[in-house]
């Protein structure tokens, strides 16, 4: 049983659109949330500008609890919560919630790691000039780490495309859904092949944009 390609292409295009939507929205939300958590994690570290042992340890523990859970299990485990918030667990929009939560913590770690590599002397110099902690965050930490930060977020974006395929299998739609339904359950290798090629292309585009942007901001 082979698919009729002339009518199947629109489905592929629709599925690609769903994947891109899931990834893009997740990326936006996860970047904002992850940046906030990552910054908080960094500034509350020992000896840092807003040192706070309680906040640091709590966030650190939270990240270490969420991060090791395999995404597909996280997805299922979170479904009651997803239903509570989104009203459903099926569809592209519903998939964005668990993806955002999982990705936020990954982004937070990436942000923290990049901030740690900033020369503490630069932060000290800003302090010596009378910068407040909030000013240091927005005028020193973020600009100084921006180049590597973009690369880190690009890396996560590629991971998100992977997440979206998994979300697809539990009703999230998108290319993952298509590949699983046609390729895996109906043994249609050609559909699988097409979706794989599209996924590869998406990753290439994401990496290209990420590299381009980071080069724009990387000054080292």
């Amino acid at each position: 049983m082979k698919v009729e390609w002339s009518t199947f292409w629109p489905r592929i295009i629709q599925a690609t659109g769903e994947t891109v939507t899931m990834v893009l929205f997740t990326l936006i939300f996860a970047t904002v949330i992850g940046l906030a958590i990552g910054l908080l994690l960094f500034v509350t570290r020992k000896g840092n500008i807003l040192e706070n042992r309680f906040v640091f340890l709590t966030l650190n523990l939270l990240i270490n609890i969420i991060r090791p859970i395999p995404f597909i299990i996280f997805l299922v485990a979170l479904s009651p919560f997803t239903r509570l918030i989104m009203g459903t667990t099926i569809g592209t929009a519903a998939a964005v919630l668990p993806m955002t939560i999982a990705a936020s913590f990954a982004v937070a770690r990436v942000v923290e790691n990049n901030l740690v590599s900033i020369d503490p002397g630069i932060i000290e110099a800003a302090q010596a000039m009378g910068a407040s902690p909030v000013q240091i965050i927005f005028t020193v930490l973020i600009p100084e780490a921006l180049g590597p930060l973009i690369l880190g977020i690009t890396f996560i974006t590629v991971g998100l495309i992977d997440f979206s395929a998994m979300a697809g299998t539990v009703g999230g739609g998108g290319l993952g859904d298509l590949a699983m339904t046609y390729g895996y359950q109906r043994f249609d290798t050609s559909v699988m092949l097409v979706t794989v090629v599209i996924l590869i292309l998406l990753v290439q585009v994401a990496q290209f944009i990420g590299n381009f942007l980071s080069r724009l901001f990387l000054r080292r």
């Binding site: 002397g121 110099a125 009378g130």
Partner: protein
């Protein structure tokens, strides 16, 4: 200008306790270029960071402009910091900002309007001689240029005080000279009080008027640079001074000279005033003996001369005695009996 009153700073607690600064009492006067010298770990870096409260004192009081800074609120502290410029050994420039952006940064923090920032940055770029580099990023600059940007950035808000954390230690000798000259110019032209820390006595000798020597968190010797150089009391101070004024012969050379000795060898200490009088030749002529200068070291410090010569007097012993007696009325003489003098 800056007063330390029995200031101590301790890091850590119990068995891991490190007493970085111990009971330091110092006063930096307005217009000083005050140098603090010590080996690494002596506590000088911590001492410097107490001035703008990058470190808080454990005990004791610090006054800046006659105002105690220990109890400042966060807001007052930020205001104080904008009046104290700081430069660093590793420059600490923002790599994400251009030269212009680095110098403009403290002005933006202070909320200056854009046109005033532009005027001030251009003025500072001209002062440090980097007009053509304003659009460059720090990574494209040499060490000396980076420190010039650091200096321009530190001066942007017209501070009364400039504190320098080993500002020349990462630079080659030639660039060090340039930066030291620039610091001297800042002190002279803008009447900015400078407090610097260094492990190089050369820096003290070149630009400071007052010096404090630190060891194990304590100030072990302090005074006018000229006085400390001409009359160092502590062993550490003497060693630091010897690093720039080598007035001691090597033991090999000393032994050689001893063997070839024809008369009596003396070390003659010159202080200012006498250095430009022909006392040696005049006195030796009077008693008709010869003198031979073996080794000499006369230095300029704070536009004053000082130093010593090792001189051998050759002639009739009685006449040599007369020469010594005459010279002792004017200068300090010490016969060289071993190589310690």
């Amino acid at each position: 200008m800056i007063t330390f009153q029995h200031v101590s700073k301790t890091f850590g607690s119990n068995e891991n306790e490190v007493k970085a600064v111990q009971d330091v009492t110092l006063e930096v006067m307005k217009g000083d270029i005050f140098g603090v010298i010590g080996f690494s770990g002596a506590g000088k870096s911590t001492l410097l960071r107490l001035v703008n409260l990058l470190e808080r004192p454990t005990t004791g009081e610090i006054l800046v402009n006659e105002q105690s800074i220990n109890t400042l609120s966060q807001k007052e502290l930020r205001k104080l910091r904008s009046k104290i410029g700081m430069i660093f050994q590793s420059f600490n420039l923002f790599s994400s900002r251009t030269v212009y952006g680095n110098i403009a940064y403290p002005l933006k923090l202070a909320g200056w309007p854009k046109d005033k920032i532009d005027f001030r940055v251009k003025e500072l770029l001209a002062f440090v001689g980097l007009e053509d580099k304003e659009k460059k990023f720090p990574e494209k600059l040499s060490g000396g240029q980076k420190q010039r940007v650091g200096i321009a950035r530190a001066l942007a808000t017209s501070p009364d005080i400039l504190i320098c954390d080993e500002a020349t230690s990462a630079l080659d000798p030639e660039t060090t000279e340039e930066i030291l000259n620039l610091l001297k110019k800042i002190n002279n032209d803008y009447k900015i009080t400078i407090m610097l820390i260094t492990h190089e006595m050369h820096v003290i000798k070149k630009i400071c008027n007052r010096v404090a020597v630190m060891e194990d968190g304590r100030v072990i010797e302090e005074g006018q640079v000229f006085d400390v150089f001409t009359n160092p009391v502590q062993k550490t101070t003497q060693n630091f001074i010897r690093s720039v004024l080598n007035d001691k012969l090597s033991s090999q050379l000393y032994e050689k000279l001893k063997k070839e000795q024809r008369g009596r060898m003396f070390r003659i200490y010159f202080k200012e005033g006498v250095s430009n009088e022909p006392i040696l030749s005049r006195t030796c002529k009077k008693y008709d003996i010869d003198f031979n200068i073996i080794y000499g070291n006369i230095n300029e410090l704070q536009e004053r001369l000082f130093g010593s010569l090792i001189v051998e007097f050759i002639g009739a012993p009685a006449e040599v005695e007369n020469v010594i007696a005459d010279l002792e009325k004017i200068v300090v003489l010490k016969e060289l009996v071993n190589n310690e003098g």
